[in-house]
Amino acid sequence: MIPAAAVFWLSCAAIAQEVLLVRWLHIVHDHHFAFMILSLALLGYGAGATGLTLAQRFLVKRPAAVFALAAVFLSWAILLSAASLSRLSFNPLEILWDLRQTAHLAAVYLFLSVPFFAAGMATGLAFRTRPEKIHRLYLADLSGAALGAALAVGLLQTLDPVWALRLVSAVAALAAIVVPAGNFLARASLCVLASLALQALIPQNALMPSPNPYKGLAYARKIPETRLTTERFGPMGWVAVLESPRVPFRSLSGWSLSGSAEAPSTPLGLFVDGAGPIPLFSKDAFSSDFSFGDCLMIALPYRLAALNRESSHGPRALLLGMHGNLETVVARLEGFALLDVVERNAHVAELVARLAWGFDAKDGLGHVRVHVADPRRFLRAPSPFYDVIHPVTVGVLSASAGGAASLMEIYDATVEAFSAFLDRLTPDGYLALLHSLSVPPQATLRFVATAEEALRRRGIGHPQRHMAVIHDWNTGLVLVKKSEITSEEQDVIRRFAAERSFDLAYLPDMTQQEAQRFHVAWQGSLHRAVTALLSDRAKDFMKTYPFSIEPVTDNRPYVFHFFRWKTFRTLLRAEHGRGVSLLSWGVPVLAAALAQACAAAVLFIAAPLAISFKGASRRSLKTFGKTLAYFGSLGLAFLFVETAMIQKNVFLLGHPVYGFAGTVGSFLLWAGLGSLASTGWVRWLESARFLRRRNILSGTAVCAGAMVGFYGMVWVHLVPWAHGLHDVLRWAYAVFGPAPVAFFLGMPMPLGLRSLGRTDPDLVPWAWAINGCASVISALAAALTAMSFGFVAVLAAGAALYGLAAFSAPRRHGSA
């Protein structure tokens, strides 16, 4: 007999490993590839259940022993798959050119899916052998997963990641120990020894993920005399500081080509998850009277703000994100006496403030306050009005708009975010967006369109008179002002640009002749594009532009998602597929992952039909069809709803890590309680005679869909309101708010499995495999839906899928 406790610990270990794997993958690869690899690896769950379906005749004979073996195997696989990850020579950047990379990718999938295979098979075995206790086992599975998610985040907060992984591996072994079979002491000793043996055999450095050779850290470490001086691990990333005395680091985005000044350099560079370097300048990097304003584009908003220094207090600036200390130094040397710097990652804030110059009040340049917080939350709190607000992180991410950033939800550059920034600006203050240019222009136009929408929502009739755009060969600066940009200010911008060989892309009173004096863009597009975007024909322009540049909102915060299928087809026709270099890769990578997941799902679902159930003539096609439709819809629906709620909580709680841990932990727990209550729920329905017995499963799925469609929608729409609540209430809203939805979502699955266990027990593992495959497809499809239509649409699709489950539910239910 497999006890619920064993399922609990197994599930805990598997999910904790999944969360740790997210970190590992982000260190080795960029965000979008990490997402794809992990999604596909999770198909291991479905594959494990399929394996069980095919071999159940043998495996059900000694379920406890098989479960214990699977748990020990999981404990080994957790370590071995992590050790293999950075040693597999998969280079996603080369995949367009080299077909062999697809074989390497398949190897990565294979290695990473092995732990999930073991977990999927063992859990399915528990369901298969104890159908009458499925509601308890499902509770154990979900609550174990909830603990696993929380445990992984907690471990990453407190432990070295390698030790975190070793601990999770030990948790898997614990699942084997609690299975009651034979002599407890002998079995426990064997499990502990088996786990310890591998722990001892794998050295610490073999488990440490290493960035692929094309990441900044890997490259920098190859430079002679470079050494790692400091590192911090945490759920928000691996922060490392390198010292390179021989070849220093520099940061020259927006540096004037006409400037003759020596650019500052520093031996210290900071890397997050292997990406960087972010130079950390010491005071010796430049003299205290160094005029950055003569060289750097970002000095412009400070110069403009200086025109209106009438207030009694000194000028104030707000920097959102800490990309080293250059921005801080520029602001201070431009005379800004008060500077608030907001950074989400505590380790980045600590290291930059400690190692870089410019954060110490003793230097006599005014006052810098570093806040570890979410920028949107920070702006909700009482704070002064600022003359300049500079969302640094958004601009930095624009450099990887075509790759890593294209799938990211970024709440700091939406219409709502810009509105919040404008609220905190002084009447003559500037919002400054320094960013990397792309060809054809994309991020620049997205920022302009979003700012225009934010200004319109404030009731401003002529937003085009509140904006200016300048650029050089690869950097752009969008300026947004609360009040109209005056003629005097426009003259300052003209002079500033001309003296530094920057070009004007847009000014309210600009002429075509003023554009492209120094930097000729491809097809001369930037000035024309911005002008068209701020004209009456903006809607037509956006509609027919080759890339998606519409304003983004909190409902669809994919700031660097520019992908359009029509353009994709056009660019694919280019020789050697070179045209795709102009695309943002997020959608193609997601679509490729979805196609692979669907193909694998077909294989895993069809294999038992072709092999194990081939001769099962007793069953009609209808039984198979209904089982597939019911459990497939449930798998799709659950993840759709969970994804939407995770994303809303990411916004609400201020960081993806908190959003993920806060939602998954609580959501699965509530769903587990729903599973536990499912038998009582059925009894109540039967006694109350609301539904005929044969419609109880359908009725339960309808209730789940209705909860999503009504309560869930209300919850989502109240999130902006909850964002302004006190911390305790905000967390309570995030954790307890989704409880009613999750509670009902926890019922249809165990009820369906139990029903199947009574009528067709050998179909239980198959149903589990269907659910596992559908969950993976769902996570990818939900992401694509969110990018195209927003989170509300994802939630609505989730509700509709519960309707489909209701339609296809078996007519017999699993009442006691």
Partner: protein, 275 residues
Amino acid sequence: MQGASGKEETSVARRSSPWSGGVAAGLVLAAMAFALTGFGVLRASALKDSEDPRFLQAREGMVREVLADMAATASETGRGALSSAVLEALRRVPRHRFVPEKLVDAAYENRPLPIGYGQTISQPFIVALMTELLDLPENATVLEIGTGSGYQAAVLAHVAKDVYTVEILPPLGQSAEARLKALGYANVHVKIDDGYFGWKEHAPFDGILVTAAAPYIPPPLLQQLKPEGKLVIPVGPPFLTQYLTVVHKARDGAVTTRQVLPVAFVPLTGRGGSP
């Protein structure tokens, strides 16, 4: 912040005779190259195994592909064909000697290849286009930042009088130097150093190529560029060049740039839809 120890300046020409295949053979080849390129002197010798028919055929196929790419992207790059010097350079440089042993079979495919250390050898089309965009005068002196395997330097060696190339990673720089020496490229000079500073001792240059995508153009490079000289720099992640930037320095020192798209991209037309 550059230590003196960081500089390991070496010149292939200064160290040994370029005519590794024998003086007589060298002279014959020099005469042939002179006739073919129209340049005043031979700047690189040919190779024994470059005449291997297998590679010759593959190289000719690669050149055809590059020419097709040039024609296909003519409206974006402004160059529908290659100049005879660049074309001849592509035909003569044995690319298979610049790639890792295991990738020799892919050497003449029109695509970038990994060369280790997180670096790539650029796609032949991009190499050709960047060289073309330099618009080098006769007897030009060129600076390359990012030697890598040395392939781009070898191509430049056929169209310029002297090529000065700087590599930041010692293993790459040393192997490129040895390779170029073995192939007899006497007019290529390799230095292992921080490319930010260029190569002041041999400045000014008629053209500068920055072969790795960089988020900025180091000011010293612009100072080392001759008036009317051009600097070409790619933009984009490894393996995927998004666009090239051509920086032009006018006689009065004024600097202007132009974006060049190495991709045939016909924007979707519509009411105001084109960028």
